[in-house]
Homo-oligomer: 218 residues x 2
DNA sequence: TTAATATGAATGAATG
DNA sequence: CATTCATTCATATTAA
């Protein structure tokens, strides 16, 4: 259905009232926030499972110096196969590190902050901070920044050419995916047009709704 | 980008187009669904935690790529009505590039021709050629070759032992259909965990939940 | 509809 | 740093 909005003409100068806009914005934002909060809560709760609430056994929380199996941090575990004999050695499954949502957020934030080349020292710091939210190693952080840089750059290179949006083909009227390269920091406001609202909503404000949600769980 | 459109005050009987209405409905509905799923997951997890507490030491839960990444970070979904600029309403567009038959043929041909590593420049050329037969981006081409290479390698890994080995690749473009071996049902039971052997339980639980969740997204 | 497969895309890690 | 590899995720397509 390729329509170039030619018959529109007016181009929706205004199809929604401010009130409607406001309401919708709130609604969507609320949902987005709740979702995000839930994910975080879920993660936190699971982490807590580790320390407290161990009626059966205690299973050694990360003692000191060296954490047991740090490299098996964020095993994604797609399907059911997670039985890991926690005995002494079973290091047969080397899953790659998977940053948690919080970790990603932190990393993105730092990256966005403008440091293209974190020094060794900086890496250490970041690693430490991230370790508060999950297992990480300095190598992970290092790789992450490397990849991040490369990716950004390549995206830039690919996005440059004037992508003549010709007519849709009869076969694949698909649209090029546009990856968001925006790292919007915590701006607690929903300013901007409707375009922004979806983005803002998912990154802003997650303190208040937390309790609200906990109450809601029936 | 705040595109104004706020001080009109038309107040018509109909302030939203049907398309916009539809989009918003989908969006909100999607959020609602996600929230629902998350709440349920959280609740179930809480129950699990209560009954069988699995004090695993590490292994953060994986609310990551499965779904978390896709809607929290990814945002590949429709951008609300962020397409008012003459875009009209094609929110239900496909998100994944699907090469046309002709494009596939060309790609296969090039691939077979022996270019294992198309350079950036080569990518551009190929992209241009393909664009004569449908929409493509350089990223698409890049990914295609990446995937093609990996796939060839993998397929080759299995079928080779007792016949003409050291072969290049299958020349037939549509000869990639091959058998798939089952998932490795490697039941690795916890064998000899002397002490800490309560790690598996909770992990399994989480996996189930995760799986459940991802399955439900429809 | 559901399950299985094929395949485009995302990304951590490795290599030069 | 620049590319590439390997693994996994998400979705499109097809089969049961």
């Amino acid at each position: 259905m390729a329509e170039g909005a030619a018959e529109e003409g007016v181009l929706c100068a205004k199809v929604m009232t401010d009130e409607q806009m406001e309401v919708l914005r709130s609604q969507i934002s609320a949902y987005a926030t709740i979702c995000e909060q839930l994910v975080e809560m879920h993660r936190t709760m699971t982490a807590q499972q580790d320390s407290l609430s161990g009626p059966l056994s205690v299973s050694s929380p990360p003692p000191h110096g060296r954490f047991g199996c740090s490299w098996v941090a964020g095993t994604r575990s797609s399907h059911l196969f997670a039985d890991q004999p926690s005995g002494g050695a079973k290091i047969s499954a080397k899953q790659r590190w998977t940053p948690t949502a919080v970790q990603v957020r932190i990393l993105e934030s730092i990256f966005y902050h403008g440091n293209g080349t974190p020094s060794k020292q900086r890496i250490k710091e970041i690693t430490f901070e991230l370790s508060q939210h999950g297992q990480v190693s300095e190598t992970n952080v290092y790789n992450w920044f490397q990849n991040r840089r490369a990716r950004s750059k390549r995206k830039q290179a690919f996005a440059a050419p004037s992508n003549t949006e010709s007519e849709a083909e009869e076969e694949s009227p698909s649209e090029k995916k546009a990856k968001k390269e925006m790292h919007l920091h915590d701006s607690r406001q929903f300013s901007g047009g409707p375009d922004e609202m979806s983005v803002c909503a998912s990154t802003v404000a997650k303190d208040i709704l937390c309790y609200d949600l906990q109450d809601k769980r029936t």
